[in-house]
Symmetry: C2
Subunit: 204 residues, 2 copies
């Protein structure tokens, strides 16, 4: 179990694509974290690099739309970016051991990047959560406790200590892989294959 660690941030568009691809898998350890503090540490700003670099940002939206279409997955440019997702992140953190963690994370991403809902809003998060557990209100209440805030802070420190500088990030057999484009490589590494892009040598 848990061959693949998947580190994601709910504001990250490429994390959305990876969450869609991984939602139903049973061998994934889901790791919610906050990219903002890591961006602050690296760039001196917690804002998205896509906002700080408008050309790269414009391209990102085109690229994510292309990639989503290739996955057969709907995608809409949200009316606000990045959206605050502290509560959703804390709930995902609390729910990492639940059997519905994958579909729940995907549903939060879809609320943001398909339905353009404010995932910073407690009502939105609670409504999504109710589809997965009868204990939605209990999860929301626990997520607000200072102890959970401290644990999520610790999680983000762990991300930084392990070399994470963006999202999504995967760990496979102790090695870091960055970006939705490297999910296949991480999976190949898990299977003991060379992580490079096998399709270049593949005859179909």
């Amino acid at each position: 179990m848990s061959g693949l660690e998947f580190w994601f941030d709910f504001a990250s568009t490429y994390s959305y694509l990876s969450a869609v691809r991984l939602a139903e898998r049973k061998d994934v350890a889901w790791r919610a974290f906050l990219l903002g503090p890591i961006f602050s540490e690296i760039h001196g700003s917690s804002d998205s690099p896509f906002n700080r670099n408008p050309k790269r940002g414009s391209y990102m939206w085109i690229d994510v739309a292309r990639e989503a279409k290739a996955l057969g997955q709907p995608f809409r440019v949200p009316s606000a970016f990045p959206r605050g997702s502290l509560l959703a992140t804390r709930i995902a953190f609390l729910a990492e051991g639940e059997p519905w963690i994958g579909p729940f994370v995907r549903a939060i991403f879809e609320a943001n990047f398909v339905y353009d809902l404010d995932i910073g809003d407690e009502m939105v998060v609670t409504a999504v959560l109710r589809a997965f557990t009868p204990e939605a209100e209990r999860f929301v209440a626990r997520a607000k406790e200072p102890a959970i805030k401290a644990l999520l802070f610790e999680r983000t420190r762990e991300a930084s200590a392990r070399g994470i500088f963006g999202a999504p990030t995967f760990f496979a057999k102790g090695e870091l892989y960055w970006g939705n484009d490297r999910l296949d490589a991480a999976d190949r590494a898990l299977r003991g294959e060379h992580p490079g892009r096998a399709e270049q040598n593949r005859e179909c």
Copy 2:
């Protein structure tokens, strides 16, 4: 002819990988340019983002080594990065119409990223060039003329005007694709297929 435009910078590790993949193709328009002025415009520094962000930088070297291995292509972390490549860039600019442009560009990249030679050194560049043309000295002399400097400056302005923010960048059917990871997508677009990653839907 020239279905695919390939914009590259000799200091760019991912441009190296793309140059290796494209060197022998006949349908490529090679576009040498300088990323430094574009980085200055965007980031306020002409240094590589990989140097300005050490975590991302360390990961890049691991990632490029993995990708090179998957291509069956040698790769060595150079002892200096990024290397000055103004003369080599001007020569590539002058040679874009030559039948040996692809193999020449690949050879300059290999001098840097396989043999760890200083591609900023005129002797290194001239030696590489001699393998492709008996007029190596004439190319080097022309590359130093102010008119060529002005034309390369214009080229870099064109890159910026067309939305380029990094390298490698491809244009296929008027659309921009950024990064070695999107060369396959650009090629699919050229063939009139959806540019998204086809391997996800492919049965082998």
